[in-house]
């Protein structure tokens, strides 16, 4: 083996050095993953997103706000009961009901009575939320479960 070949080959010290670097980087990366994993909670500390809104007979035909202190509108149409989220899809402000539908106070997004976007910066219409009937006959709205607009619960 010539001197040239030997200098190109991976020597014992090079191997140990590489192994040391590898160990160092792996442990650093593992530590970082652990540190960055911590701030992302696995259990969201918010109160339950399912909320009882009363028996179907009490659901008015007009929208009203702040059902059970939540930012949802529950209403009854000919097809059944439906729930719309009051949280603006733009930047999370709470929309206010107006004769034409809903207006967002923060950046002027406008929605019609069924939550469809008709103006302003919101990227899409208001979320429709899943409505189910609890065993005790009351209706339950799940704020965490958006459904396709036009989903009604027959009552």
């Amino acid at each position: 083996m010539s001197v040239d070949d030997r200098s190109k080959a991976l020597g014992r010290r090079d191997l140990l050095s590489l192994a040391a670097w590898g160990t160092f980087c792996t442990s650093l990366a593992t530590a970082l993953v652990g540190m960055f994993r911590l701030p992302k909670p696995s259990v969201i500390p918010d109160p339950s997103l399912k909320v009882k809104v009363g028996p179907p007979g009490l659901i008015p035909e007009l929208e009203y706000r702040n059902v059970a202190g939540r930012n949802i509108f529950v209403s009854r149409g000919e097809e059944g009961v439906f729930a719309i989220s009051a949280v603006c899809t733009h930047l999370g402000c709470i929309v206010a009901p107006v004769p034409a539908g809903f207006n967002c106070p923060c950046h002027g997004s406008r929605f019609d009575a069924l939550g469809r976007i008709i103006g302003g910066p919101a990227p899409r219409g208001l979320d429709w939320l899943k409505v189910t009937k609890a065993p005790d006959g009351e209706l339950v709205v799940d704020e965490g479960e958006p459904v396709p607009p036009g989903t009604y619960l027959k009552v």
């Binding site: 701030p39 992302k40 909670p41 969201i44 500390p45 918010d46 702040n66 202190g69 930012n71 733009h90 930047l91 999370g92 402000c93 709470i94 207006n103 967002c104 106070p105 923060c106 950046h107 002027g108 469809r116 976007i117 008709i118 103006g119 302003g120 910066p121 990227p123 899409r124």
Partner: protein, 511 residues
């Protein structure tokens, strides 16, 4: 008895001996002792012992960097005091701020200083950046310090944003709700391509920021930790780097012919070396880079003590005077306690974010993420794209047509932003005409992106026409500055309930 006499003499001499063990050099009356006064002191030795006369000219620096540092110091002290009474909990926070305002001795005053100091710091940081830019001070070898400066700008804004939530009033709650949803706005893009289910960057950012789905206890404690510990620590570290780099990069920037421009020093200043001083360059020889004095003949420098020290003291006093005067007459606002059911109308962020809020009102992602990121990237690249060497250290670069281009860019920048705003306010935008238009079109084609495109196009045109990257940089920087100012003014003074346009707040509908 000799020992007793010596003991009594020592006892008498204790104050003097303690002083001399603390300050080991003599009074600062010679060049040597003036230098020692600086470099033998832990707190002063971040300064060089001598400073170039160009760096001391008010018309050059306007003390803006020092005002930033002075406000930070002021904010640290007042913030520390406020922490004795502030309680970071959704139940207690609002009441503790009320206590600080109405009950705690000097509490209202300290909180006011903290608020006005924060505003002053933002203004000073922006003006300092403009000063450094218009004097071409970002040029080699100062590119990296320009980047550290940008980090400090972001940290300053991050500190003021995180502090905004702490009072837990309506203003705080809704400004941070909006901010958190801006962090979530990449969903606008991922939704459009339909990949949010797999890659939800926006959702992740919001969760990391709030620790929850909405602004609540977890968000408050996160913002508190960021505001009182994490960001100040980073800020202090980067300030240290920033100052250290000034020295390593050869002091503040100055023109190559600074000495001729200055002429001989006046008779009232402490005498300047007429010959090379007797000092060792041993260390300088092994350090890479250029020290301020290596290889120079007679220096046009002054001892930092007293010249720089008095200048710094003056700026600190000025900063204190301004904030104290403002705090004496104007109280920091405190609205009703946060109510997650009813948003403020209009819900406005602090003034320096209102320009952003204005373009966010066209598209959340474009205005809140895309344009700010592109702006920051552009600012970072300026020193690497403009590598001309002339005109460093002079306002607008005297040999150039810098002043003229800056003026014309300001006119163009103002005209463009006013035209785009007027159009959007008068006629609306795509959604008003075609309600069914896909969001992705609006995300990339809205008044904000149109304005940014106009500015970039104008700057490219200037580069080609004037055949100068420096003039192109001046054009785009000036345009963005003009845009920022006008958008901030519109957001602050001309936007009312539902973010509608009003000529004055007195015309807002009463409800």
């Amino acid at each position: 008895m000799g020992a007793w006499k010596e003991y009594v003499a020592n006892l008498r001499g204790v104050p003097r001996a303690v002083w001399h063990s603390l300050v080991r050099q003599g009074p600062p009356v010679t060049d040597r002792s003036r230098a020692e006064a600086v470099f033998q002191n832990l707190f002063l030795h971040i300064h060089s012992t001598r400073i170039h006369r160009w760096s001391l000219r008010w018309s050059y620096t306007m003390g803006l960097g020092l005002i930033c540092a002075a406000s930070f110091l002021l904010l640290t002290v007042t913030g520390l005091l406020l922490m004795f009474y502030y309680k970071p909990s959704t139940v207690l926070a609002y009441q503790s701020i009320k206590d600080i305002h109405y009950v705690v001795p000097t509490g209202r005053f300290m909180r006011n200083i903290h608020r006005w100091g924060a505003h002053l710091m933002v203004i000073a940081v922006l003006l300092h950046m403009a000063r450094v830019f218009y004097t071409s001070s970002y040029r080699k070898p100062r590119e990296m310090n320009w980047l550290f400066g940008l980090v400090l700008l972001v940290l300053t804004l991050g500190l003021s944003f995180s502090g905004y939530l702490l009072p837990w009033d309506q203003l705080a709650y809704w400004a941070v709700t909006i901010g958190a949803n801006i962090a979530q706005s990449p969903r606008e893009l991922t939704d459009a391509i339909g990949i949010t289910r797999y890659v939800d960057i926006g959702g992740l950012q919001k969760t990391l920021l709030l620790g929850s789905r909405s602004v609540g206890e977890d968000a408050l404690i996160r913002f508190y930790v960021l505001h009182v510990f994490f960001l100040p620590l980073l800020m202090a570290a980067f300030m240290g780097l920033h100052f250290w780099r000034i020295r390593k990069d050869g002091g503040l920037s100055r023109p190559a012919d600074a000495d001729e421009r200055l002429g001989p020093p006046g008779e009232d200043v402490t005498p300047v070396f007429s010959q090379a001083p007797k000092k060792s360059y041993g260390l300088m020889a092994v350090v890479r880079g250029t020290g301020p004095n290596v290889g120079r003949g007679p220096e046009n420098t002054l001892p930092s003590w007293p010249h720089l020290m008095t200048a710094e003291a003056a700026v600190f006093m000025f900063t204190m005077a301004v904030t104290v005067a403002l705090s004496f007459f104007l109280d920091a606002p405190l609205k009703e306690m946060a109510n997650p059911l009813v948003p403020e109308n209009p819900a406005k962020a602090p003034w320096y974010f209102l320009g952003l809020q204005e373009i966010v009102s066209f598209s959340a992602f474009a205005g809140g993420v895309l344009i700010p990121m592109v702006t920051l990237l552009g600012l970072s690249l300026i020193p690497y794209l403009d590598r001309e060497t002339e005109g460093v250290g002079v306002w607008f670069g005297a040999a150039y047509r810098g002043r003229e281009v800056a003026f014309r860019s300001a006119v163009f920048g103002l005209a463009a932003v006013i035209a785009v705003e007027a159009f959007a306010i008068r006629f609306g935008w795509l959604r008003s005409w075609y309600p069914g238009i896909p969001q992705i079109v609006i995300t990339f084609f809205n008044p904000g992106t149109v304005l940014a495109f106009l500015y970039v196009a104008y700057s490219v045109w200037i580069i080609r026409r004037e055949n100068s990257t420096r003039l192109g940089a001046i054009a785009i920087f000036t345009c963005f500055l003009a845009g920022f100012i006008v958008l901030t003014l519109v957001g602050t003074y001309f936007r009312g309930p539902n973010w509608e346009f009003f000529w004055s707040p007195s015309r807002w509908p009463v409800h």
